[in-house]
Every structure is written in structure tokens, then in C-alpha cells.
């Protein structure tokens, strides 16, 4: 395999593997929020707000992976 192929493979693996963790995390967060919503439908506003913040924190990890992938594929 030449360097170019390795680079593209690395980029694909970076975002692919990097997406697993945040995906699971956001899934768990969404499930937790739905649970909370089912138990206490009146608390919709705060639950939504906290869920979005927590999701953005989990998603940041995927963003790191995305940046690494972009760097590998296009800049390096």
C-alpha cells in the first residue's frame, strides 16, 4: 500500500471508529431523556436543555475525529 492509500484509510478509520463512542453516548443520553420525559412530562424544557448540552459534549469527541479525518484526507 502506498502512502496515499494509507492516508485515506486512516481518515476513514478515524471518523468511523471515532463515531462509535459518541454514537453510543448520544443514544444513551437520548434514551435517558426519553425516560425522564415519560416519568415527568412537565419538565420538558429543562430536560431538553440539559440533553442538548450533554449531547454536544458527547458529540465533541466525534468532532475531534472528524477534524483528524479531514486533516488526514485533505491537508497532510
Amino acid at each position: 500500500m502506498d502512502a496515499e492509500a494509507m492516508k485515506l484509510l486512516g481518515a476513514g478509520l478515524a471518523i468511523g471508529l471515532g463515531g462509535i463512542g459518541p454514537g453510543i453516548g448520544i443514544g444513551i443520553l437520548g434514551a435517558g431523556a426519553m425516560n425522564a420525559l415519560g416519568r415527568n412530562p412537565e419538565a420538558r424544557g429543562p430536560i431538553m436543555m440539559n440533553m442538548i448540552i450533554a449531547i454536544a459534549l458527547a458529540e465533541a469527541v466525534a468532532i475531534y475525529a472528524f477534524i483528524v479525518a479531514i486533516l488526514l484526507a485533505m491537508v497532510v
Partner: protein, 312 residues
Amino acid sequence: MKLGCSTRLLLIIGVPLVVLTIGGLVIGGVVSAIMGREPFAGAPRPEVPPEVIAHLGAIPITNTMITAWLTTIVLVVLFWIATRRMKLVPRGLQNLMEWAVEMLLNFVEGVVGKEKGRRLFPVIATIFLFVFVNAWMGLIPGYSSIVLKETHAGETVLVPLLRPANTDLNVTLALALVSFVFVEYLGIRYQGFFRYVRKFVNLGPLLNGLRQLFTGKLRAGLGGLMMGAIEAFVGFIEALSELVRIVSFTFRLFGNMTAGEILPLLMFFLAPFVVPVFFYSFEMLVGLVQALIFGGLTLAFAAVATTESEHH
């Protein structure tokens, strides 16, 4: 079935949308590559370091710096216009600004309480507004289309004059440092220097254990030594997590904003019509949420630093 509009209207809007989406996919990057054609739009060429526009003496002026200044100017002018002729019953811009400030104040006071909230509010609100206005200004259509022609090694390249400041690692690092210093200052201010530092450098129990060991109380000394080592290690971890915050603050904002810059362009390359609109609106949400996270996390850390740790 109820659609909320007539079937005819749905067809008039829906069919062109579907056609545009499919047509966009056909002339987009992937299909073009398979068919061996030139795609409708070129693939984005991301530039990670900001481009230098001019020099002020020995200091290089980058396009992200210009945007940071522009953001500050926009904020100042906006608030100046809004508060120029203040009315008791606000209307228009004043109303909007009061609403925004009130939302932020309620958010801050909701976390740390009324009295502390007033003191923390200015810094948190400034961070929030800077990040937020910066992100949304970068989404204005045509924002990064203002370009300068520059010649690098015989080649003419287009350098955007404006580029969202938070796509520059230096700006996000500066913000993270502001947030870090702010939190540490508050910790020292509210708890006193020695009490606050003891959270990180906790050698008291360890020295105590050593003293007991040397004065002959072997069992108590060994136990104290053990506990002291654990306490010192916990303090070390605490200090480390404090420092790691700078890095995570920096890269979270930088990553999100840089991805926000690249992602719509990438979608434009893959499917030029309809699809990028969703990503555009997604980036609006990201700008708001990232501003909220930067401000909110600073607030949360400040809340932890200002409340005294219970077991000392």
C-alpha cells in the same frame, strides 16, 4: 389525511424539491466521480492555520483577528444602539437585547444563585455573546466570499478576508485561558489562597504520617502515610483535571467551529442542492449550543470553585 396545505401546493413545492435533491446528487461529487465527470462544485480545501492578511509592524494580522475585532465592534455597536434611547417599556432592538441579557442572567442565577450570579454574570455573558455572535456571523451568506488576491510563489491564491475567529486555535485557546484564569481567581477569591491551593497540593496528611512514623508510632504512622499518599495523589489528579480543561475547552470550540466551516461546503460538494440547507440550519444550532456550552461549563466550574470543599 391532513397536510396543512392543499395537495396542489404540496406538489408545487415538493416535486421541485425532490427533483433538485436527486439532481443535486447526480451532479454532486460521488456520482460525478463514478461517471468520471467534473463535479458541480469543487471539494473544499480546508486551511487550518489562519491566513495572514497584513502586517502591523512586526505583528501579522490574520483574517481571524479581523473577524474577532469585527465581532467586538458589532456587539458594542448593537448594544450601544439598543441602549441609546432607553425606554421603560422596551420596544424593538432594546427589547431583544433586554430579553437576551435577561435569559443569560436567569441562566447564570439558576446555577449559582442570585448573589453570586450577579458577580459571575459579566464574564459568562461576554464569553457567550462573543462565541455566539462570532459563529452566527460566519453563517451570513457571502461572509467568506470577500477575498483578497495574493501571489504565493508565482501562484495567485484567493485568501478570504473574513473567517470566523473560532476556527483559529489561538482565539479558542485565549478564550479557554480567560475561562481558566477566571475560575482560578474566583476560587482564590472566595475560599482564600491557602484553602484553595490545598485542594491541589495536599501534603498535610502525608507529613503528619511521616512525623508519627519518626516519633515511634509505627502503626498509626504507616496508616497515616498511606492515607496521606492517597490524598496527595487525589490533589495531583485534581490539579491535572483543572489543566486538562484548557485543552478540552480549546479543542471543543475549535473543532466544532472548524467542522462547521467545512461540513456545509463538503455537503455542497456532495449534493449541491437542498441537502446543504439542513446542514446550514444544523450549524446555526451548533453555534448556539457551543456558545452555551462554553459559557455554561465556565459557569459550572466557577460554581464548583466558589463553593468550599466539604471535607477539609
